[in-house]
Subunit: 347 residues, 2 copies
Amino acid sequence: MNILKIAVDAMGGDYAPKEIVAGVEEARDRYPEIEFDLYGQIDKVKPFLTTSDRINLVQADEVIAMEDEPVKAIRRKKQSSIVLAAQAVRDGEADAFFSAGNTGAILAAGLLIIGRIKGIDRPGLTTTLPVLNNPDQDQFLMLDVGANADTKPFNLYQYAILGKYYAQTVMGVENPRIGLLNNGTEADKGDLVHKATHEALANAKDLNFIGNVESRELLNGAADVVVSDGFSGNAVLKNTEGTALSMLKLIKQSIMDGGLGGKLGAALLKPTFKAIQAKMDYSQYGGAVLLGVKAPVIKTHGSTKAETVANTIGQIKSMLENHIVDDVVTYFGEHSDEMIAAKEALK
Amino acid sequence: MNILKIAVDAMGGDYAPKEIVAGVEEARDRYPEIEFDLYGQIDKVKPFLTTSDRINLVQADEVIAMEDEPVKAIRRKKQSSIVLAAQAVRDGEADAFFSAGNTGAILAAGLLIIGRIKGIDRPGLTTTLPVLNNPDQDQFLMLDVGANADTKPFNLYQYAILGKYYAQTVMGVENPRIGLLNNGTEADKGDLVHKATHEALANAKDLNFIGNVESRELLNGAADVVVSDGFSGNAVLKNTEGTALSMLKLIKQSIMDGGLGGKLGAALLKPTFKAIQAKMDYSQYGGAVLLGVKAPVIKTHGSTKAETVANTIGQIKSMLENHIVDDVVTYFGEHSDEMIAAKEALK
């Protein structure tokens, strides 16, 4: 059995370290091939640990808080759980890094400590979202959802390649349909960045590019991989979340205001609402992955609880077993001339 | 009584001319102070007209189709209903222009035929969206939602001023809270464009700028006026619409799959769902307004029916009676030195 080791930030997230430890223990029991290094203040972490089998506690004196300025925190808090865990991955002591902490700090640790894969300009943050009302598709992938605010066409072009690998190896989609998030479906839509990107993707040989997709159609399964600049990708991700939550809240409130008939209806529909809430909870599909760095770097919501931690460990396991990082390294190594030419052409 | 005249494109929209004519007749009956010039192919329009009181048919031989390339269509189809109606407004024969047709062509007609207000760099398209679950706020305004894909900080700064005027005069919000759509609430978030815009808005004297707002919080009423670049504003608008529709569809489908209890519950909740659908239908709040041109230019969804046409006429009436265009002209006239300085500073 090939043993995998995951470096976990035990101190990140609103319910850390308790829920992180519980999730790691759940994952440990699920996956006999995984070992964990749990980084944190041992006196705070240890009380929550039931059995230390395959879970190794590593002391980290400092904690990066949710409100810390990310790059500064990475540079100054050298003894923080995020920095030490990322260093362990960089040094080959662990295979992947997981945290539910400060998003910016996790991204900075991925970029500055673990480092970019050679040939990749800007790693991108990717999230899986649910597809609704479509029997043929359960989920889709979107990237970048916020690693880079200022995105160039060449970055978007590389996101398409990274997204393709992820969809194939982790989501099991054979020939993923790649769409570009844009303001209209016609080829000439969008700003200068998206027009240039559309042209580059349309001419790319290895990509199943289906053209522009509009944000209105994402939840209907417009594509398997939605390529987006980090600014509007982030806006669309947060908007989907916000609109779905507001709709559920509105419906519940309307029912409560709706008299006896409404309340009876609500009681009968309780299981339906529960199922919908679960469907919309995209954390169940795993964490956000920073694609383009030398090892899997995964973050989940600050509000993460044990079950999501365990599910995300499963996602990391799948990334490791499918050698997605190695495949990406190989691809960009073999296509370095092409990348240099593309970067030049997309300037 | 001050007579207002509105130039209406009778040929634009999926249900034109029938629903446009019906809507204009409804508006005519509601508002005794409004006269209409209805531009279109008279032989197609006339059969739907019940009484011609205060409705004047004007022959327009050509029609700009939904799929026509906007600027080309405006330049080549000189006898189209959109071009002729916009020219009538430009020439002072009518006070405002309304169409449910090709969005790009309407914007192009507004910009190229009616023309920008002096001092305004790029007019912006604005839409009203509902606020849910908030007893203190019914709706908010967002602009730009798609007039410009490539937006500069100076444009965003001017959108804030335009949005303030609209919220005050048409929505009746005394001191509108202005937020900047961005990737995080902290002042330093976003790409270079949004960072520069944040600084300019924070330093503006006459604006009640409340800082960055995230797309997740829009429907909760994060601001009265949400300033957005045309690319992400368009993406967020379409995403809100798409997510809300998908959620309603999912809930309905889940209920149908939920057996007898679910169906009974659904029957009891029918009025609730109807109310929600109405609340989410932002066309009831009126059309999208191109702010920054010399007369009110309003467009509605292609799927517009008579009632929305009539409501939108009411919105135009309010814009005209409150002299929003005159006020904006005065403001930018009086602040031209300030605008030149701001444009230079925000380069």
